[in-house]
């Protein structure tokens, strides 16, 4: 391993450990695990009840659409956790713990440090996703269909999806170098955009034309679609991306992930430079 790689690995490893400690040390491990899965499960229950209520009032059932909604919502857990895990780091270290100046001047890559801090949230999200999917299969009758041949593609899509999410999170972290209090607004707003425009809970075709075009410009749309194709049985839902093959979607995901990675490097460096120039790098505003 080269010195540079070793330096990045060390930064990542200790940042991940720090992130885990900060997230979980307020309580017992079992309580933390319960806490970590209750939120997403409750989120899934909202959708279950929405579907059930519609089925009751509308006298209509559609297991295909229910599975579509359920799986989309389960994988969306990654979005909220990963994005929040990355771009809240600067705000919390700067304003809350007031440790940013010490971490920043230490001999680490600050970019890698942020990725490491997000790692614990990604790990917890993974657990929540697995539990949500298992609950869907065992208690709600969501039918999965995964062939062994498709597992590598599923894993590749998962890695690329998370890579893309972390890159987007770093872009936002770069912006948060310059903002005072808007982290929470962004934390809700950006995932909200993905929630609506990426075909997470409903097919892209339910949106107006302009919104469908916007959704097709977001890489996560392809990730959600490909994930559903790989783990759900074929169905009659028109996702609006049917003209792409699985490989084409994976290629699109790869290309857009790389673009977002490069963007994250640029935006992070720019935000960092501007914050240093304006003297805001360790500014506390009491927000």
């Amino acid at each position: 391993m080269s010195n540079l790689a070793r330096k990045h690995w060390r930064s990542f490893k200790w940042a991940a450990w720090l992130g885990w400690e900060m997230d979980s040390n307020w309580t017992e491990p079992w309580l933390f695990m319960v806490y970590s899965v209750i939120k997403p499960i409750a989120g899934a229950f909202i959708l279950v009840l929405m579907y059930s209520v519609f089925a009751l009032i509308g006298q209509f059932t559609d297991p295909d659409l229910f599975s579509y909604i359920y799986v989309g919502n389960a994988f969306f857990i990654f979005v909220g956790n990963t994005l929040f895990g990355t771009f809240q780091v600067i705000q919390s270290d700067r304003e809350w713990y007031q440790t940013l100046r010490y971490t920043y001047i230490s001999p680490i890559s600050y970019y890698t440090y942020i990725v490491g801090r997000a790692a614990s949230k990604v790990a917890v999200a993974t657990l929540a996703v697995v539990i949500t999917l298992a609950f869907g299969a065992l208690a709600l009758g969501v039918r999965f269909e995964v062939s062994l041949v498709q597992v590598p593609m599923f894993l590749a899509a998962l890695v690329l999806g998370l890579f893309c999410l972390i890159s987007i999170g770093i872009c936002l972290a770069g912006i948060s170098f310059m903002t005072a209090k808007h982290t929470h607004g962004l934390a809700e707003g950006i995932p909200g955009i993905f929630y609506v425009f990426c075909g997470v809970l409903f097919p892209l075709t339910a949106l107006p034309g302009w919104a469908q075009s916007f959704g097709r410009g977001i890489p996560l749309t392809y990730w959600f679609d490909l994930t559903r194709r790989l783990i759900l049985p074929s169905n009659t839902i028109n996702s609006g991306l049917g003209f792409f093959s699985d490989i084409e979607i994976l290629a699109l995901l790869l290309a857009s992930s790389l673009i977002f990675f490069l963007l994250s490097l640029g935006i992070f460096k720019l935000g960092e430079y501007m914050a240093r120039k304006a003297g805001k790098i360790d500014m506390t505003t009491s927000y």
Partner: protein, 314 residues
């Protein structure tokens, strides 16, 4: 000149406490609206969450219409879809109040402790209830401005049809729900003071589960269709003012009569009407305000005794 008695000091104390209420409400009424970025972050962005749920019902409605040619059936499905979309818009608007109760009421004394203001409040010659009351009034006003903006934009954007059948009752239910909710927030504020760092996590934990149990995005009466577990969930949910408030408001403003109202277990075929829910909400408001006063006094004493009143990062 005679020495002041407890009775003669009442006007002075009243004035001081009113000043405390105004002083604590001021930053939330004036300060919070001074920076216009709230319009985007707190009125427009919440529409995204609402939009996602609206489109779920729209997608379900469109799928239900596939292959249906009977005009009566089409009208029925469209009416059901519209009433559920109206439910989402109303619930999505009320989410702002619940979040405000959690993050700006319940967690507030904890935040104040962390940034060092709490000791100043404790030393000031005012009732702690005046402090919490000021926070609540300011929070209600601030959030109402945001929620009404969200509601108006939501109704326009999603072409929601609303029909106010009883405006006076609607206003009454709305305000009593807010008083009960903020009373609950005042009670939680003192508990959070004791729980320290767990406060943040508890507030985070009380978001989705309460959106679910209180039926922010679906008629809560739907629980009744899930047997004993659903009934138990419904019983728990009715202790949260948002549940009854939302259900009553839905009954008043969503056209086409009550959609899955909350059934009364001992009266087959009967359900909680908006009037009845209004009455229960008044009781809840009084109970929560009383409990807030009691817990605040008790937990303040406990926190002082254990030396946790001003200790940060615990």
């Amino acid at each position: 000149m005679s020495a002041p008695t407890a009775t003669s000091r009442i006007p002075h104390r009243l004035k001081l406490n009113l000043q405390a209420i105004v002083g604590r409400a001021y930053p939330r009424i004036v300060g919070a609206n001074r920076e216009p970025s709230w319009i985007f972050f707190e009125a427009i962005l919440p529409l995204l969450g609402i939009a996602a749920y609206v489109f779920i019902y729209k997608a379900l409605g469109e799928r239900a219409l596939l292959g249906v040619s009977d005009p009566t059936e089409i009208a029925r499905i469209r009416a059901s879809t519209n009433s559920l979309i109206a439910t989402v818009v109303l619930g999505g608007t009320m989410v702002a109040f619940w979040l405000n109760v959690l993050w700006s009421m319940a967690s507030q004394l904890y935040w104040e402790k962390e940034i060092g203001n709490l000791q100043l409040y404790m030393m000031a010659p005012m009732s702690r209830m005046a402090l919490l009351g000021g926070m609540a009034i300011g929070g209600m006003f601030m959030t109402s401005v945001r929620a009404i903006t969200t509601l108006v934009v939501g109704v326009v954007v999603f072409s929601v049809v609303l029909q106010v059948s009883n405006p006076l009752l609607l206003i009454g239910v709305f305000f009593v729900t807010l008083i009960a909710l903020y009373g609950m927030g005042m009670m939680l504020a003192s508990l959070y003071l004791l729980w320290g760092r767990e406060a943040f996590n508890l507030s985070a934990l009380l978001e989705e589960p309460i959106f679910f149990s209180s039926g922010f995005y679906f008629p809560v009466g739907g629980f009744a269709k899930f047997g004993t577990i659903g009934g138990a969930m419904l019983a728990f949910a009715t202790a949260i003012p948002a549940t009854l408030g939302l259900d009553a408001m839905r009954q008043i403003i969503v056209p086409g009569g009550p959609v899955l109202p909350i059934p009364i277990p001992w009266g087959p075929g009967t359900f909680l009407t908006a009037d009845l829910e209004f009455g229960i909400l008044i009781v809840l408001a009084v109970v929560f305000l009383f409990l807030a006063r009691q817990t605040l006094a008790y937990l303040e004493k406990l926190a002082r005794r254990e030396g946790r009143l001003t200790s940060r990062h615990q």
